[in-house]
């Protein structure tokens, strides 16, 4: 069954304490080539049937009303997973 993927990232101007902690941990495993980390969320919405424009629109609606909080987060991607699309 096809899946729609939704990516949500903290807004650039919002401090991301979790990303900062991860960035601080990278040198501990010997990785020093990264200057910053930001942590987001990925959702996969499984669709029963074809991904019509209406279904995609519903996914966008879900992304902006429930899956993200526009005060602190941006929806950076809403699209059908290529590997599912025949």
């Amino acid at each position: 069954m096809p899946r729609i993927v939704v990516d949500v990232m903290p807004k650039p101007e919002i401090l991301d304490p979790q990303g900062k902690a991860i960035a601080g941990a990278l040198p501990r495993i010997g990785l020093t080539g990264f200057t910053a980390v930001r942590q987001g969320k990925r959702f996969e919405l499984t669709v029963d049937g074809d991904v019509t424009d209406e279904v995609l629109e519903q996914a966008r609606h879900a992304a902006t009303t429930l899956l993200s909080n526009p005060v602190i987060e941006d929806v950076t991607r809403v699209e059908v997973l290529e590997e599912d699309a025949q």
């Binding site: 903290p10 919002i14 401090l15 304490p17 979790q18 902690a21 429930l66 899956l67 909080n69 005060v71």
Partner: protein
């Protein structure tokens, strides 16, 4: 949790306020306390209402009926396990739709207080601006926190004087209040910063903000827990009013007497 007109103190000793007798006008005021799956502090909040002299009514998140309550408290905890974002799923509970509509109703709008997770629910429901992200330190914090009342004109702070300080427990992980600068300036300009942290910012909240209100002043959210500082023997070890006995701090009680007296008056 049935409402009882007289709350028996758990221990002896002088009470900060005498429990209401049957003739007290405050007893006729009913305050609903909402329970979601994962709510922790509903019983403490209901007890605080009764100790302040009012009647507490238990409200279930899945119901559609506010049962005619005069005010609502959304207590602390981890509603829906904080899944997705703190408060994000609770916001769509059937009872929240009732509360959102009643709280936005102009002059007769329902007074609503959100404490900790309840504050997060109110921001997710857009009843209050801004949002909460993880504490700057990333640690769960649990300590007695000093606050200053910046606005004593709201439904929930009228028993305090402006500038008065109180010490109540703070306990959370996602307590860092954030909003864009325009929103923050608006909150400051309109006197809607209700509480500010004093003696150090515990979680990185913008402009030391611990609590805010909506424009009408009927909806207030704050991160620390006044309901845990209402009864001698079970409160913080300190008070902003001076030395107290061990666990003797009751600085939070005024939040609950404020709304009761406002509603009677």
């Amino acid at each position: 949790m049935t409402s009882s007109p007289v709350e028996t103190p758990l221990i002896g000793g002088p009470q900060p306020l005498a429990p209401a007798d049957a003739a007290s006008p405050l007893d006729g005021v009913s305050v609903g306390v909402v329970t979601f799956p994962g709510t922790l502090d509903d019983r403490d909040a209901a007890r605080a209402v009764r100790l302040a002299g009012g009647s507490a009514v238990q409200l279930w998140h899945g119901d559609h009926d506010l049962q005619g309550v005069d005010a609502v408290i959304i207590p602390g905890g981890f509603s829906y396990g904080d899944y997705l974002r703190a408060g994000a799923i609770s916001r769509f509970a059937p009872l929240m739709e009732q509360i959102t509509a009643a709280a936005s109703g102009g002059a007769d709008a329902l007074p609503v207080l959100g404490i900790c997770n309840g504050f997060q629910v109110l921001t997710e429901a857009h009843l209050l601006p801004g949002s909460m992200i993880k504490n700057e330190s990333l640690h769960f914090l649990c300590r007695d926190q000093r606050l200053r009342v910046e606005n004593a004109g709201t439904f929930w702070t009228s028993e305090y004087a402006e500038g008065e300080e109180l010490v109540i427990p703070l306990k959370n992980q996602d307590g860092q209040f954030v909003a864009d600068n325009r929103t923050l300036d608006e909150l400051e300009g309109e006197g809607r910063v209700v509480f500010r942290y004093v003696g150090g910012n515990p979680n990185g909240s913008r402009r030391d903000i611990a609590g805010i209100s909506n424009a009408a002043g009927n909806v207030v959210g704050l991160m620390p827990h006044p309901e845990h500082a209402v009864e001698a023997g079970f409160g913080p070890d300190s008070s902003a009013r001076g030395a107290v006995d061990l666990r003797g701090g009751t600085d939070g009680l005024g939040i609950f007497t404020s709304v009761l007296k406002k509603l009677v008056g």
